[in-house]
């Protein structure tokens, strides 16, 4: 029983109708209280995975457990506690914001007061009789978030929620997500194709590329990986010899210098001493630490 896991997928595989494999052995684990950023470039398999989690796409291979229960056998019970926003806003253009929420209010067993509350949370309480088709994309996105919040869910699944939001909207969304997680205790799974967009709000990250999970862990763990992937740029009086001396650090030519791996500042000092002992003059010793975005790019590009 994985009762401390809110989401646990095991060996998810999915083959598109045209025979293209879109997911390969996807294992995701999201614990209660986490804000899990599901990252990957466009077409990596994020939306397919999220659609599988919500039962919108038929499960072909693998197992999905949500709240410790098999999704297929407990679909309605699970969905009662899940708020979702998948891809573009799914709203009735001929209805008002309030009517859109009214469509689902009783379905989720929410009160009228809750409708007003979620509209206030996303700042759409004063839209009156304005029909949703007259809303801007940002307003539609906010209303979709309100719809996802309507059931006061234990799990919130947001697929690219920042789409269509301006920078202020993104900051507001970030604050909202943090607040919902902290104050309401919601577990949140949100996808994005940009790490920078969500790195300030997530506690855990899963990176998917070409349908495969290539990293999964906490932000500090991603930071450690970042450290491991850091490079040191060195230029000496004899770079050919320097490459031989630093063979253990995977040296590579990099313009007029060479680039080597390093894990700590102590290693940098050791490399400096080794070069000095061989009578090499050091002209440049420059640590190049990846930022997370660069690391994300490197990981997904390496995998591609």
């Amino acid at each position: 029983m994985n009762d401390h896991y809110v989401i646990k997928t095991t060996g998810l595989e999915h083959i598109h109708t045209k025979g293209i494999k879109t997911l390969t052995d996807v294992n995701i684990s999201v614990k209660k209280g986490e804000i899990y950023g599901f990252l990957g470039p466009n077409g990596a398999g994020k939306t397919t995975t999220l659609r599988l989690l919500l039962g919108l796409t038929k499960l072909q291979t693998g197992k999905i457990e949500i709240f410790g229960k098999d999704f297929g056998q407990n679909r309605i019970e699970i969905l009662r506690k899940v708020g979702s926003l998948i891809e573009n806003p799914s709203l009735y253009g001929h209805l008002t914001a309030r009517d859109n929420l009214a469509v689902y209010r009783e379905v989720y067993g929410a009160t009228k007061a809750r409708t007003a509350e979620v509209l206030k949370i996303v700042g759409l309480q004063d839209t009156g009789n304005k029909k949703v088709r007259q809303f801007s994309l940002g307003m539609k996105q906010r209303l979709s978030v309100a719809l996802a919040l309507l059931p006061n869910p234990e799990l919130l699944i947001l697929d690219e929620p920042a789409n269509g939001l301006d920078p202020t909207g993104i900051i507001e969304l970030r604050e909202l997500v943090k607040k919902l997680n902290k104050e309401e205790g919601m577990t949140i799974l949100m996808s994005s194709h940009q790490l920078a967009e969500i790195e300030k709000m997530v506690s855990h990250v899963g990176i998917i590329s070409k349908g495969q999970i290539i990293f999964q862990g906490s932000l500090p763990e991603l930071g450690q990986l970042q450290q491991k992937q850091s490079r040191l740029l060195i230029h000496t009086s004899n770079d050919q010899l320097a490459m031989q001396i630093l063979q253990a650090h995977g040296p590579e030519p990099s313009g007029r210098a060479i680039s080597v791996n390093y894990n700590s500042e102590i290693e940098i000092a050791a490399m400096g001493r080794a070069l000095h002992e061989k009578q090499l003059d050091i002209y440049l010793l420059h640590p190049q630490q990846n930022n997370l975005e660069q690391l994300f790019m490197d990981l997904t590009t390496q995998h591609a």
């Binding site: 109708t17 659609r51 919500l54 039962g55 919108l56 796409t57 038929k58 679909r75 309605i76 019970e77 969905l79 009662r80 899940v82 979702s84 998948i86 891809e87 573009n88 799914s90 709203l91 009735y92 253009g93 001929h94 209805l95 009517d99 009214a102 469509v103 689902y104 009783e106 379905v107 989720y108 067993g109 029909k131 719809l147």
Partner: protein, 260 residues
């Protein structure tokens, strides 16, 4: 969660949609045509045969004509048209994924949508009956020789005729409902519906190729042809059977459809 909740949810979606306007505008057409078609005089003031028809009971005759016109043409065309409008609310707004990610069973969703469709059909029929009454009232003023108020309306007969028309349309309504939900494009169900309706009418009243009593698209017209009186009960049962079978097939198609 009860079916009533899903039904209310589905009904809310039709709020402010053109479906109700269309329903009541469509309900006016046949009674308005009757005002022109049923008259004391025709062809430049010549007395018409309508006076004789109305002599035994103007309201009964007027309603018989009205329900007949509805049943033959307007009711099936209305069903074909509105069957696409209801699913298009979801397709046009890209809302299927939100609906299916909500805690509602596929069965409740499917059948509540069908029940809302039936509600629209019933609203159209009732609206038409009210408009026939208004049309008759105006006709009474325009055509005093019809003597509308000499005989009261036989309500029982009127409701029986209306009920038969409704039961006869059930088969077509289930077929159109299934096709309307099945296809994203509204042109396919509407085009196919109109085409089969026209072919069915030609088959039924012009050039019979197949037994019209087995072809559910034109059942509501079939029951109003004098030669078919003996087969009316049988055809009404067929209509219910078609509805039941198509609804079950349609449900499984809906349940296992790939929703993009």
């Amino acid at each position: 969660m009860s079916l009533a909740i899903t039904l209310r949810s589905e009904l809310t979606k039709t709020k402010r949609s053109p479906i109700w306007i269309l329903t009541f505008v469509a309900a006016i057409i046949a009674p308005a045509l009757m005002l022109i078609a049923i008259s004391e005089t025709h062809d430049g003031g010549q007395p018409s045969h309508d006076i004789q028809k109305m002599a035994k009971g103007a309201w009964d005759a007027y309603y018989y004509q009205g329900i007949g016109i509805l049943s033959f043409v307007f009711l099936p065309l209305f069903v074909i048209l509105t069957s696409t409008l209801l699913p298009q609310i979801e397709y046009r707004n890209h809302t299927w994924k939100q609906v299916l990610a909500s805690p509602q069973s596929y069965g409740k969703l499917y059948f509540s949508k069908f029940l809302i469709f039936q509600l629209v059909i019933i609203a159209f029929i009732l609206g038409s009956l009210v408009c026939i009454a208004l049309s008759g009232t105006i006709s009474a003023v325009l055509n005093p020789k019809f003597n509308f108020y000499a005989h009261p309306l036989n309500w029982q007969k009127m409701w029986l005729a209306t009920s038969k028309a409704y039961v006869a349309i059930l088969g077509l309504s289930a077929i159109q409902f299934w096709v309307g939900i099945r296809f994203k494009s509204f042109l396919i169900p509407m085009g196919a519906g109109v085409m089969f309706f026209i072919l069915g009418m030609i088959n039924m009243i012009g050039y019979p190729v197949i037994d019209a009593s087995k072809f559910p698209i034109t059942y509501s017209g079939f029951i109003y042809i004098d030669d078919n009186v003996a087969k009316v009960t049988e055809v009404l049962w067929y209509s219910v059977a078609y509805m039941a079978v198509v609804l079950v097939i349609g449900f499984f198609d809906f349940r296992y459809k790939k929703w993009d």
